[in-house]
Homo-oligomer: 362 residues x 2
């Protein structure tokens, strides 16, 4: 175990720390500090439980811990699934002063966080994200919730965790494809506001793919810092927080058009980043050299920069009309004036979107 | 229509007004001010819809309004019921900038508020409470939620309305039994912190029972003011807000022991107030003369002061162990040092509880 790094997400009374490093979730002292002696339930899934639940319970010591094991996969991220968590809490007489631990990826984190938000109108939870995506994205910022047949994350709450333990040791069992998908969100942070971090990623892509702990810790730390800064400025997504959706309008279109079956979320976001870059270029806001750098980095970490040939432009267009980002009839895009210079706009040239759709979709 | 009275619930960015008076919900100017031109859905139930939904839509003018009609009754206050509201919002492409209107009693308000809290992680809603109980209690303070087979209101959120229109004209169709149940909560506010208001209620009980608008408006106004003050001090129920549960520990025991079938919530709270008074007396904190005044006022408005013979002491005791107010093993009671002087304590003489249980339950 190395000394963990610590970031504070500054949200007044709801502030919380993110501990980052090799072994942070296996350190009993961290649990003593952040969980105290409270009654605990670990919420996890059928894939993660056999890998890490026993070890976590051991770290938590002698006390009795309830284990709630969910089925694996985004398809189970439903209101019914959250109802099952709540059923278990009621059956085991949990009170609002007790604590949930989310041990898993984004789905487990979103569902556990939403259950914590709703149970007795709000109880505490700690995130132990086991995927890179969850460590750099879904465990930071307090968005919790579930999907509805009519759309992703349509039901949810803003509910901040008490702490996040981002343990890079947990990534050793992560399938390589999911590691790459997580890197898409890491690249996104560089593109939003940190050209230097983007350049660092270009230089260290191989180390990240090889799970080198120090490189991972740096990438996670910088990603979380950027997300935390943006969330602190705009907790409830009324303004700047929309920047975090860079690549997501196109990404959601890919996911929707392919029925959330063949593309991982991060893979779709990766291609979405390239599309946002292309659209920015077509609008005259971004140099072609920057687009090339972005596409090159995506390829270097094993991600795609286009949705062709699976998704055609018509399907993408249809999917985007349903997107949450439709505000009073006008779609807002997050575009770039260069690497590290993302901005939100509802005022974009329609032909820039058209050219992107035609070129980037099959 | 008389000039409405207005109370401001001071909660920083979540502050909102309560308009009180005869006809406030039928005044198009109020809707223009608080709903603007947003897309609207009225959530109501099968009893209230035929009485008031058409009139409200007329007041709202020419625009298209979605109407969501729920089945009537506490038994339908479930997570599934909220899912049905959300289904309708998704099907009609509501966004988080649109607005829900809760037209009904506490059940409709709690479910609509919770749907608004969860839909796209939070949209606005306006309360139009149609029962006295909802006007003085459930529409103030932002508690929303649903029941679970394991307990009442176990699933929910704190979510403040944008405005509350407490229209006394809507109480003319209220069954007399529900009016009386609502008066239990009104009496509660006097007992918590306003002896003068309690004396006013003693003097004006007949006018309230006769639905005299000015008397109703005063009772609602003072009740809402007291609740608003307490909520503003402690929005998330970490301290003073527990005072609002005066009478509710015993009341919940009655409701639980009778399976939520024969007693209305307000009726149970009314008896619970008398029991809290008796327990306070047995603990040596309240004079018998005060207990007598409380029981006399309850009787004057047609409420009971005891749960005997339906609920026996053993059933009440069992029900109270499951109560949410169990904190780390010790039950907190809200008791009184006199009329208008309620306080929260975990340090009460066990024999005071025993004597109350034996005397007040059958």
């Amino acid at each position: 175990m190395t000394t963990p790094q610590k970031i504070d997400v500054a949200l007044g009374a709801r502030s919380y720390p993110i501990l980052i490093g090799d072994g942070v979730a296996r350190n009993a002292a961290h649990w003593a500090e952040w969980a105290g002696t409270r009654k605990l339930a670990i919420v996890t899934n059928t894939v993660v439980a056999p890998l890490y639940a026993d070890a976590l319970e051991q770290t938590l010591g002698d006390r009795q811990v309830l284990r709630i094991v969910l089925p694996d996969g985004e398809v189970h991220k439903t209101l019914d699934g959250v109802a099952r968590i709540i059923d278990a809490l009621v059956a085991n007489r949990f009170g609002r002063d007790d604590l949930l631990i989310a041990l898993g990826g984004g789905v487990v984190g979103d569902m556990t966080g939403f259950a914590a938000a709703c149970y007795q109108r709000g109880m505490d939870f700690i995130q132990v994200p086991t995927t890179l995506l969850a460590q750099v994205d879904s465990s930071v910022g307090g968005k919790t919730g579930v999907n509805h047949p009519g759309g992703k994350n349509l039901i949810g709450a803003f509910h901040q965790p008490r702490a996040v333990f981002a343990d890079t040791a947990l990534l050793r069992t992560l399938p390589p494809r999911e590691l790459r998908a997580g890197l898409a969100e890491v690249i996104k942070y560089g593109l939003i506001c940190d050209a230097e971090f983007f350049a660092w990623l270009e230089a260290h892509a191989d180390e990240l793919l090889a799970l080198q702990p120090a490189a991972l810790a740096h990438a996670i730390r910088r990603s979380c810092e950027i997300k935390a800064e943006i969330v602190a400025r705009d907790e409830h997504e009324r303004g700047d927080r929309a920047l975090l959706n860079l690549g997501h309008t196109f990404g959601h279109a890919i996911e929707t058009a392919t029925g959330y079956a063949s593309w991982l979320h991060g893979e779709a976001v990766g291609a979405g980043l390239a599309m946002a870059a292309r659209m920015s270029m077509h609008a005259g806001w971004m140099a072609e050299a920057d687009v090339t750098r972005i596409e090159r980095l995506l390829h270097a970490v094993g991600l795609r920069a286009s949705a062709a040939p699976e998704v055609d432009a018509a399907a993408a267009r249809a999917a985007m009309n349903l997107d949450k980002k439709v505000q009073r009839g006008r779609l807002r895009f997050i575009l770039m004036r260069g690497i590290g210079r993302a901005f939100v706009t509802a005022d974009w040239p329609p032909e820039a979107l058209e050219r992107t759709l035609v070129a980037q979709f099959g």
